[in-house]
Symmetry: C2
Subunit: 346 residues, 2 copies
C-alpha cells in the first residue's frame, strides 16, 4: 500500500495549481496593503518544518522587499516573559495546523501591542488564523502523514507569491506560474532518487549541502530524513560547512549537494570539488550539466528553473529521498516512532 | 604534551577577568551612546563559532534591551547583491579574527548606508574593526588552536556586559563579576567530563539538548565535537526536538542535556523524562540536584549560576567533552583534518 506521505508528495503540483488559482488575487490584495505600511522590520515565528519556510521568507523579504527580517524567539514570549518592542514591524506566524501554542503566544502579544499580524496556515479556522489581521491559506487540503510535504511547499509558494506581489515584480509573478509544471518534472526523477537512496541506505549518516536561497531546503530535507528514516542527516550552508563541519567527511560518507543554476552555483562547484577530494558518496541535485556530470548519482532539475523559486522544487527530490531511504530500511513511513502530527510546545 | 586547545580552555577564567577589568568602562561608554540612539532593530553578522555568539546576542538584545534582533544573511551582500534597508538599525559583526570577507561585506554596506556598526573581535586591528564605528576587544590573546574556545566565551561575555550596561541593569552588571569564578568551578569538573567521554567514545553520534538562552550553547558544543572528534553531533532546542528529530533516539544513543536552574528547567526536566523512556546514555550538565540525580553521568554547575549568564559557563564542560572524546579516539586535537584557523568565505 502506498503511504500517505508518498501520496501527499505526489499531490504537490495540484496543491500549487490550486494555490495559484484561488489565492493570487487575495495575496495581491494583502501585498497592496503591506506596500503602504512602511514596516521597519519583520519577525517570523514558526517551528519544525514551518521554521524552514520561515527561513525562506527571511531571505525573500530581506532581498526582494528590502525589509530586515528575523526569526522570532518564542521562548521569550512563553517562558521568559521579556519580549522585544515589536511596534513599527510586521509579525508573521507560519504553521500547517495553526495551533502551535508558543507561536500563537507571539501573535497574541504582537496583536495586543497593536502590531500587524499575518498567519500563513493550512487551517484558516485555527487559533493562529483567528487572531491574525491577515491570513493566507496554503490550500494543501488535509495532510495525514506525520511528515509534512505538501503543506511545506504550499507555505513557501505562498511566501514567494506574497514577496513578488509586495515587490510589485510582474516578471517574477509570471515565473511563479511555472511552479506546478516544475514540481511534476522533479516527481519524474523518482527512479533516480530511488537508486541514490538504495546506495545510501546502509549508512546511517547523511550530509546535505546548499547555499543562499536553498539554505531552507537543506534543513527541510535533513528534517524529513531524520523524521522518517532515523538517519542522522545534517544540513549545512556551504559557507558554514567550511568553518568546521567539513572535518566530518571521510571515505564513503553520503553527501547530497543542492546546486541549482544561479548565483550560488560557482560556489557549490568549488564545494563539490572539495568534498570529492574526501572520496564521499556524492549525489547532486542540479540543472547544470557540468555539475550533474561530477556526481555519482545525478538528480535532474528543470532546465528553466529560476533560482529564487528553486527551494519549492528542489525540496521534492529531498522528500522522495527520505521516502526511499525509509522504504529501503523497511520502516513504517506514516508512523515514525515518537512523533505526532501536531506538537504542542509551551 | 598538552594541546593548544586544552591550554586555551584553561585560560578562560583569566581571559574573563581581563575583559571585565580592562573593558568594563569602554563597554559602558558604548552602551551609554547606544541608549540614546533608539535603534529600531539590530542585525548581527557572524560565521562558525561566532554565529553561536550571535545567537546569544540575539536573545539578550531582544529580551533585555527589547530591540528586535535578527541574524544577517551574508550571501545577500556577497552573492545576490540584494540587501535589506538597514537604516534605523544597528549592524553588529562578531568574529575572532575580524577577517571574514562576507561579514566584512555586511559591515561595509551598512557603513556606506550611514548605518551604525559595531565589531566584537579578538583583533582590534583587523579589517572588520577598522571599518566599524564601535569596537569591543574580547581580550582573549592569541588563539592558536583551530577549534575556538576562549575567544567564544570572551565574545559572549562581552555581549553580556554590553546588554546589561545598555539596559542600565546594575544588579546584572554585578552578577557578571562572578563569571571567572564560575568558569574555574566547571574546569574542576574535568574528571567527570572525562568519564562521560570515555563512555560515549565508542559511538560516533551525539545529541545535545538545551533551550532558551542555552540554544547557542547546544550549537557551540555540537560544533566543537564535530570539529575535533568527527562525531556527528547535533544540537536541538528542546522545543524543536519534539517536532521531529526525537524519532532518532534508540537504545544507547548518547544524549547530553543542558539543564541549568532557571525558567527553562521545568521543560528540560520533562524532556529528560521523555528521552529516558528511550533508554539513551544520558549525561546532564546542571546545578539542580534532582536533575543531576536523573542522569547516568552528572556534570555539576555552580549552585549560584544565573540563567542568563549560564551559556558562558555551560559551554566549558562541552569544550572539555569534545577534548576528551578526541583524546579517547586518539585524534590530533590541534590539527583537525581539513580545517584552517581563518576561513575566508565569499
Amino acid at each position: 500500500m502506498i503511504s500517505a506521505y508518498q501520496k501527499e508528495i505526489y499531490e504537490q503540483p495540484e496543491v500549487h495549481r490550486l494555490l495559484l488559482a484561488n489565492y493570487n488575487a487575495k495575496i495581491k490584495e494583502i501585498a497592496g496593503i503591506f506596500r503602504n505600511k512602511n514596516y521597519k522590520f519583520i519577525l517570523i515565528a514558526a517551528r519544525g518544518t514551518s521554521d524552514n519556510a520561515a527561513t525562506y521568507a527571511k531571505y525573500l523579504f530581506s532581498s526582494m522587499v528590502h525589509i530586515p527580517t528575523g526569526l522570532a524567539i518564542p521562548s521569550l514570549y512563553t517562558i521568559y516573559d521579556q519580549v522585544p518592542d515589536m511596534r513599527g514591524g510586521l509579525v508573521i506566524g507560519i504553521s500547517q495546523s495553526g495551533q502551535g501554542s508558543d507561536i500563537l503566544a507571539v501573535l497574541k502579544q504582537a496583536h495586543a501591542a497593536g502590531v500587524d499580524t499575518l498567519t500563513i496556515t493550512n487551517d484558516i479556522h485555527s487559533p493562529m488564523a483567528e487572531i491574525s489581521d491577515y491570513v493566507i491559506d496554503v490550500c494543501a487540503g488535509k495532510e495525514n502523514a506525520v511528515a509534512a510535504s505538501k503543506s511545506y511547499t504550499g507555505e513557501i509558494l505562498a511566501v514567494a507569491m506574497l514577496a513578488a506581489a509586495w515587490a510589485g515584480d510582474e516578471s517574477r509573478l509570471k515565473e511563479i506560474q511555472k511552479v506546478p509544471e516544475w514540481a511534476s518534472f522533479v516527481l519524474d526523477q523518482h527512479e533516480n532518487v530511488k537508486k541514490a537512496a538504495r546506495w545510501y541506505a546502509e549508512i546511517d549518516k547523511l550530509i546535505i549541502l546548499g547555499r543562499g536561497y536553498n539554505h531552507c531546503t537543506t534543513s527541510e530535507i535533513a528534517l524529513k530524513v531524520k523524521e522518517i528514516t532515523y538517519v542522522t542527516a545534517e544540513a549545512f550552508s556551504g559557507a558554514d560547512f567550511r568553518h568546521g563541519p567539513i572535518a566530518l567527511l571521510e571515505d564513503g560518507f553520503p553527501v547530497v549537494v543542492l546546486a541549482p543554476a544561479g548565483k550560488t552555483l560557482a560556489d557549490m562547484q568549488d564545494l563539490i570539488r572539495e568534498v570529492k577530494e574526501r572520496k564521499v558518496r556524492l549525489s547532486v541535485i542540479s540543472n547544470d550539466e557540468h555539475v550533474l556530470g561530477e556526481s555519482d548519482y545525478a538528480i535532474r532539475l528543470p532546465a528553466d528553473l529560476t533560482e529564487w523559486l528553486s527551494p519549492i522544487v528542489v525540496t521534492i527530490p529531498g522528500q522522495l529521498l527520505a521516502l526511499e531511504l525509509a522504504v529501503a530500511k523497511g520502516l513504517d513511513i506514516d508512523h515514525p516512532r515518537g512523533l505526532k502530527k501536531v506538537t504542542l510546545t509551551m
